[in-house]
């Protein structure tokens, strides 16, 4: 019986045999090394640490240079050394990035390339296989398709009869082809035709490799797609469509992914309902595959339906949500599969209320809530994204359906997650849930959610800051005074004014929107902006002067608008802000906003002016004069026929109000 024990002394002993001068000993040692590492990630790592890879790379390089004499025994040994060392290097690189890096660092890549020109078939095969393993990793060197020599080499690879050599060509394309320019170069060189012929006549692995390469060349390139489809071919992409029904699951998946790439890039192809339904069914059925194919299928499904209501509807009719739920129920899922299914559900429920109702009726929510505490961060993030989609259901939000412990408590705990992407995703879900007008949000407050949000508003990560502010903005939306006051005292005026002037525009926007919501609805709340010497009001004025995008202007103006709806003192303070901040052309930002292309910005500005000049306030005439002197009244007169109805009506309101005081 063969001894199966791995003697602890063996690894280093094995490596010393590699260095032997006797070629037969060397070959045996190489073969033994290869057999120990194939399939065994742990061994690959330990041999890597012992420096096996540079040793093998050295042997390979030396053996290639050996001139093979006519003595067949010697050349036999040399060939064996080449084959075994290439196989060992290939195995180190197979699915193991540290191995790929070590093989590249050891300088083995050029040696392996040279093997492709060797007269011995087995040597070529071993070299091609090893290179293929390297090219399956992102770490492989980028291949420059735009160089003529390289393109010729690639064509020679694809034209080879040998399966592994052709497969190498396809792997190189899948790995390195990135830009539209490269895609076009490959098309012009006739590569696509070659790949297409492999689809029809090639072996299983050749077909799979071609599907991946074709998808890479088609991605985001409608021009190449339509050139490939061409007017003269009867049923474009028929070979790919046929492969979507192939016996082998991996082929079906790759074919679907290729079709999805084509669909998404080009509005002309694969748009009929038949093909859409077919792809949906195939992907849902692939979920049943127990292996990697089943893990990847939900991701392909997401790419297919994301942002597309028509496809989401078709998928709903195909019972997608039931099927995804069924797989979730199975439990102990591979993390990748778990993540994929959650994201697929998130995409399904992102736009359609019918999908969300289905989701909630199946009691999927509990499974998703469980996923919030999964050990894998990708799964946690996906669970939050899923909740964010589902909590867009206004019907259920208003019924207070989501403001419960099962969901809120784990979500708030995720605010402290080590991963910032988990934090941001949790904030996204919470932002929806706190728009709850019925239950007084007690669960959220009780578990310290509000304080946590304020803490996150101070995060180093800008995306965390802006999402935390978004959640707070929603939290205080039409909330009662007491709640708003507690938020404000927790935040403080100085923090809020700093956030308004944050370096990140998205943070500025959310901070201004938060102020808008805080001061809305009650005159007493307006005092917030005057706290600590009017820090916030100043900050708003400053930020509006240098607003980098319309959204910032909109939120800031609405904040000012709300302040201006208060008493005389408030209105005076606002008008001061409008005019103390002047640019070098001595123009107030008000004019700039009124002239903006964005109708939302125009309307927000006009509303503010309406509030400043309303007839019931005795300071109105003075403010009107200021506005007139700044050229605003004439600007408004130019806007009486503004294309936006809201703007038109409010402009006329202002002009009506100014006439009531006697126009100048």
């Amino acid at each position: 019986m063969p001894s199966a024990t791995v003697n602890k002394h063996r690894p280093s002993e094995l490596l010393s045999r590699l260095a032997s001068a006797d070629p037969e000993v060397k070959v045996r040692a190489l073969r033994e090394l290869k057999n120990q590492i194939i399939g065994n990630r742990t061994k690959k790592l330990s041999f890597l640490k012992l420096g096996a890879i540079p040793s093998v790379a050295c042997i390979l390089a030396d053996s290639i240079d050996e001139v093979t004499e006519s003595n067949s025994c010697n050349s036999n040994n040399t060939n064996n050394i080449l084959v075994q060392s290439a196989a060992a290097l290939g195995s180190f690189a197979c699915g193991f990035d540290a191995g790929v890096q070590a093989v590249l660092d050891a300088g083995a890549f050029p040696s392996l390339l040279r093997l492709l020109a060797n007269p011995n078939e087995k040597v070529v095969d071993a070299g091609a296989r090893a290179l293929r393993m390297i090219y399956q990793s992102k770490l492989a060197p980028k291949y420059d398709f735009l160089q003529q020599k390289n393109m010729e080499f690639l064509i020679s690879l694809l034209s080879s009869e040998k399966e592994n050599v052709g497969g190498l060509g396809a792997s190189i394309i899948t790995h390195s082809c990135a830009t539209n320019l490269e895609q076009k170069a490959l098309f012009d060189a006739g590569i696509l035709r070659k790949l297409d012929s492999l689809l029809e006549g090639g072996s299983l692995s050749q077909r799979d490799a071609s599907l991946e390469s074709l998808a890479t060349i088609f991605r985001n390139n409608p021009e190449v797609i339509s050139k490939f489809a061409g007017p003269e071919i009867g049923r474009p992409f028929s070979s790919i469509i046929d492969l979507a029904k192939d016996r082998h699951p991996r082929t079906r998946l790759l074919a679907c992914m290729c079709l999805i790439v084509i669909r998404n890039a080009s509005p002309h192809f694969l748009q009929d309902i038949g093909i859409k339904t077919k792809i949906i069914h195939i992907l849902l059925e692939l979920l049943d595959d127990p292996g990697q194919v089943g893990d990847e299928a939900p991701f392909a499904f997401s790419i297919l339906i994301a942002q597309k209501e028509d496809l989401q509807k078709l998928a709903l009719e195909a019972n997608a949500i039931d099927k995804l739920h069924h797989h979730l129920e199975k439990g102990s899922l591979h993390p990748r599969r778990f993540e994929g299914i959650l994201l697929a559900l998130a995409d399904m429920c992102s736009k359609l209320e019918s999908c969300r109702s289905k989701f909630l009726s199946l009691q999927v929510l509990n499974l998703v809530a469980d996923a919030l505490t999964d050990y894998n961060s990708g799964v946690r993030t996906a669970a939050c994204v899923c909740l964010k989609s589902v909590t867009r259901s206004i019907k259920n939000l208003s019924a207070g359906y989501f403001m419960n412990e099962i969901i809120v408590i784990p979500l708030v705990q995720l605010f402290l997650d080590p991963s910032s992407s988990v934090q941001v995703a949790a904030l996204g879900a919470v932002s929806n849930i706190v728009v709850d007008l019925t239950t007084r949000k007690s669960v959220f407050i009780q578990c310290g959610g509000m304080n946590q949000l304020v803490q996150l508003a101070k995060s180093m990560e800008s995306s965390v800051r802006s999402n935390a502010l978004w959640a707070l903005k929603n939290f205080v939306f039409q909330a009662d005074n007491r709640l708003k006051e507690s938020v404000f005292s927790e935040l403080t005026a100085s923090l809020l004014s700093n956030l308004i002037c944050d370096p990140e525009p998205s943070v500025q926007e959310q901070a201004l929107a938060l102020v808008r919501n805080l001061v809305d609805g009650c005159v007493n709340l307006i005092e917030f902006v005057f706290a600590e010497g009017g820090l916030i009001l100043e900050a708003i004025g400053r930020q509006l002067q240098c607003a980098s995008k319309a959204e910032i202007g909109i939120q800031g103006m609405y904040a000012l608008c709300n302040v201006a709806s208060g008493n005389e003192f408030h209105k005076e303070a606002v008008i001061q802000q409008l005019f103390t901040q002047m640019d070098d052309k001595n123009q107030s930002f008000v004019i700039k906003f009124l002239q903006s292309n964005d109708s939302q910005l125009r309307i927000a500005t006009v509303w503010t002016i309406v509030n400043l000049t309303c007839t019931s306030s005795h300071g109105a005439p003075g403010r009107l004069e200021k506005l007139h002197n700044a050229g605003i009244t004439s600007q408004l007169k130019n806007m009486v026929n503004d294309p936006c109805v809201d703007v038109k009506l409010r402009v006329r309101t202002v002009l009506g109000q100014s006439m009531a005081f006697g126009d100048n």
Binding site: M1, P2, S3, G39, N40
Partner: protein
């Protein structure tokens, strides 16, 4: 008339009968219809060759090729290699089998974690079977435990196998079936299938599918007609319908 002919004609005929409403078909009528069904000899030969090749009967395939002129769809030399692997597993020489697979195609075990685990598992079983308990323990710790760490779904299988070590009388314990010859055959079959797939060959022969088709088709037609049935696949006799 070979059994094979009979089976194939039966399938073809039944499919044709599906369209009509329920009725009784006499044996004479049925025979007459069967005679009208045309089956090509070349197709039959291909099916036989496919069976021999997939199951790995190299010499029979060679002889059949010489005598019938039918070309196999894969290189017969590769069958020899594949059969050597299968045989090694069936005899319990798992380490030898692994080396042979890796010589044939190093990617197979590198990209098939489940197969690799089952081969390692078989190695452990063989060690236990031969009473090499110390070695078995060491092997389980060194080789199988990392597999369990790399992939959680193997842990349960691993625990079952290791539990063999806990029993005095292994042949009578709850996981005793692992020591059975059928476990070796299962593993051998798994390796065979993986090699076939890597060679882009279908891993299952066509003949069983044909027989399954026959059984299914007869069950379907039973709802519509009474007719002579094949009830014993091994002798393919047409049994007269019950009157």
């Amino acid at each position: 008339m070979s059994l094979f002919w009979i089976v194939i004609r039966q399938v073809a005929e039944i499919e044709e009968q599906m369209g009509t409403s329920k009725k009784v078909i006499t044996p004479e009528e049925w025979e007459k219809r069967l005679n009208d069904v045309k089956i090509r000899k070349e197709d039959m030969n291909k099916l036989v060759m496919n069976f021999l090749v997939t199951e790995g009967y190299v010499e029979a395939a060679e002889k059949f090729r010489m005598e019938s002129g039918t070309e196999p769809d894969i290189d017969l030399a590769t069958i020899t290699d594949r059969m050597a692997v299968k045989k090694a597993v069936q005899c319990g020489n798992v380490e030898d089998a692994i080396e042979k697979v890796n010589d044939l195609n190093p990617e197979i075990l590198d990209t098939n974690p489940q197969l690799f685990f089952h081969l390692q598992q078989q190695r452990l079983i063989e060690l236990i079977r031969n009473g090499k308990i110390e070695e078995a323990l060491e092997f389980a710790q060194e080789e199988l435990a990392p597999r369990g760490e790399e992939n959680q779904s193997f842990l349960e299988e691993l625990e079952r196998t290791v539990s063999l070590l806990a029993f005095e009388d292994v042949s009578n314990c709850p996981v005793g079936e692992l020591l059975d010859i059928s476990q070796r055959l299962k593993t051998a079959s798994e390796v065979n299938a993986a090699i076939l797939t890597s060679q882009s060959h279908e891993k299952d022969p066509k003949l069983p599918s044909l027989l399954k088709m026959l059984v299914w088709a007869q069950n379907q037609l039973d709802e519509k007609a009474t007719y002579p049935r094949i009830n014993d696949l091994s002798n393919a006799t047409l049994e007269d319908p019950a009157v």
